[in-house]
């Protein structure tokens, strides 16, 4: 892992451990419900610092998502209601997960107040982290009920219009991640503009966008780039650069499994927006880890 990603991981870790610092400053760690809520809801500019404000914001976000679909598809009232129902299902699913974590937090409180609180905190953190990630990347991603319900809600005429808009958005985000990854990469090895453009074009052609938009998009780009065959990447660089480039990229290898497990890794050969008549993608998805 590069120092850049090290830094990011360290910051994540810092956030994860901040109660420890608060506690050590105070001489005693206080584990309150507010403390948990701040971890879940108030990270990285996420919605409000508690469940109620987060719920309000997620409702607004659902509204914005439906407005966005409506703009290109001209939804009927019945369609809007159906999509709202699906979106509310996503919100409910999120809060069910939150509730489970909250209950676990209550169960862990005695251990959190003991000498080995770090172990208990790590255990809890494993559940908090996906909640944070979900909030930051948005609940209404490709695996969401809202997204899945589109296939059954939109007409054959509306669906391609929606797909075109979604694809345009995906391309915008993907390009942003690739350009940022290339610029970060130049901290290690500066490129001539011609090389930079060549590399960006290559990555746009060869890499797939992550399944979920979010803070790991650039990381997904780096890992995918590290797995590209040498014969595709090598022509972009001169020989002196290549030695360093290979060493740089090798540090990203070996993170695919984690990205797959966290739902970030792009799917292989699957059209997630395939029309409902095509049963193949659904079967494939069921087999995912």
């Amino acid at each position: 892992m590069s120092a850049a990603s090290d830094s990011r991981w360290a910051l994540v870790l810092a956030a994860a451990l901040w109660p420890a610092f608060v506690g050590s400053a105070a001489g005693q760690i206080e584990w309150t419900d507010e403390n948990l809520d701040q971890q879940v809801f108030n990270r990285g500019g996420g919605p409000g610092g508690n469940a109620a404000s987060a719920r309000k914001e997620l409702d607004r976000s659902l509204l914005l998502n439906i407005q966005d679909i409506d703009r290109v598809c001209k939804l009927t009232e019945a369609q809007k209601k159906k999509l709202q129902l699906a979106g509310r299902g996503d919100i409910k699913r999120f809060f069910d997960h939150y509730e489970a974590v909250r209950q676990k937090f209550q169960r862990l409180k005695p251990r959190l107040q003991g000498d080995n609180w770090q172990e208990a905190w790590q255990e809890l953190w494993q559940d908090i982290s996906p909640l944070q990630m979900n909030l930051q990347s948005g609940l209404f991603h490709e695996d969401s009920l809202l997204h899945k319900s589109l296939r059954h809600t939109l007409t054959a005429e509306q669906l391609p219009r929606y797909q075109a808009q979604a694809e345009e958005r995906r391309r915008f985000h993907h390009r942003a991640s690739i350009e940022l990854a290339v610029n970060s990469f130049e901290e290690s090895m500066p490129l001539r503009d011609a090389q930079r453009q060549e590399l960006i074009a290559l990555l746009l052609k060869e890499l797939k966008p992550p399944r979920k938009s979010g803070r790991y998009e650039v990381y997904v780009v780096n890992v995918q780039m590290s797995l590209l065959p040498d014969d595709k990447l090598k022509p972009v660089f001169d020989r002196t650069q290549w030695k360093m480039v290979r060493a740089h990229l090798d540090m990203y290898k070996g993170n695919v499994q984690w990205l797959k497990q966290s739902g970030q890794w792009p799917e292989d050969d699957e059209d997630v927006d395939a029309p409902p008549a095509d049963a193949k993608p659904a079967a494939k998805r069921a087999n995912q880890p």
Partner: protein
């Protein structure tokens, strides 16, 4: 108030992990000095033989900081310098002899860059956070600007112009990437229309702040820097405004962001003839033609 509290708490946590963030890997090999710098080092070594100095004790706190800085980041600065020299070599089509001259003449630029970042680092070690974004400068950009100054008499006007052009193109590419990333971050939460994205692009481009690069690259699109909300809000609808107003925007960075210094890997210039050739190499005849077309160089004339 909540934002401030959250920021301070986060800063405390992040600061506690600073050593992890910035200390170079322990197993890194010691840096070989840049080839062009070796004569100077030989002179220094000869002088050292004549009068071996006693182990230097830091005279004051500043010296101690300087020593610690050198110990932690000295190698990375050397690698940074070499990679930038490599770009110069390619862009200005330097021969080995020319390269060595450029590397030696550029040493003051490296020194100036280190001094600048030592200052930022010392301030931050002493808890002096600069909210203006100073201290969050782009390390490579700082070095290349210093190099441009240091090499004014070394490079031909054509070479200097070629390097300047690459620097400008790099800055433009960074800016494009950061603006696009900020819009993508906003879009994830505000579900912008294509028209809104275009308008926000224009606003961010016109109100560009150099420190945004640091925020976006360092924090991996997790945190918003302070942005020109007065110009952004009129582009958003009411629901988007409510969400956007609830976003945390951080107006300071914590920790030492000698941007990307930890990312610089070991780099050694190589001098086999085809080093700049790509795998699809031109035929020897074509190469000969290319070489003969290379511009004459001021360094050689000297």
């Amino acid at each position: 108030m909540n934002c401030l509290r959250a920021g301070v708490l986060f800063a405390v946590a992040a600061l506690a992990l600073l050593p992890f963030l910035e200390v170079p890997a322990a197993d890194e090999k010691p840096a070989a000095p840049a080839k062009a710098a070796r004569p100077a080092q030989k002179k220094a070594a000869a002088a050292a033989k004549e009068a071996p100095p006693a182990p230097k004790k830091p005279d004051d706190q500043d010296d101690a900081f300087a020593q610690q800085f050198e110990q932690q980041f000295g190698k990375q600065f050397q690698y940074l310098y070499r990679t930038e020299l490599h770009l110069l070599r390619v862009v200005c089509k330097l021969t080995k002899a020319q390269y060595q001259k450029v590397a030696a003449d550029g040493e003051p630029a490296l020194k100036a860059t280190k001094q600048k970042f030592l200052g930022y680092w010392r301030d931050q070690q002493q808890g002096k956070w600069d909210r203006s974004g100073k201290g969050q400068a782009d390390l490579r950009e700082t070095l290349s600007a210093e190099l441009e100054k240091a090499l004014q008499k070394t490079l031909t006007p054509e070479q200097a112009a070629a390097y300047k052009k690459e620097r400008d193109l790099r800055t433009a590419a960074q800016r494009r990437a950061v603006v696009r990333t900020l819009i993508a971050m906003m879009d994830r939460q505000l579900i912008l229309t294509a028209e809104q994205r275009d308008k926000i692009h224009e606003v961010l481009d016109k109100n560009w702040n150099d420190s945004w690069y640091t925020y976006v690259v360092r924090f991996g699109s997790n945190y918003y820097p302070e942005m020109p909300d007065a110009k952004i809000l009129p582009i958003l609808n009411e629901d988007q405004k409510t969400i956007w107003n609830g976003r945390q925007k951080i107006n300071f960075l914590f920790g030492f962001h000698g941007l990307g210094i930890g990312n610089v890997l070991e780099f050694e210039e190589t001098w086999d003839d085809d080093v700049l050739a790509k795998p699809a190499q031109p035929t020897p005849e074509k190469k000969a033609v290319k070489k003969s077309k290379q511009p004459s160089n001021k360094v050689e004339k000297k």
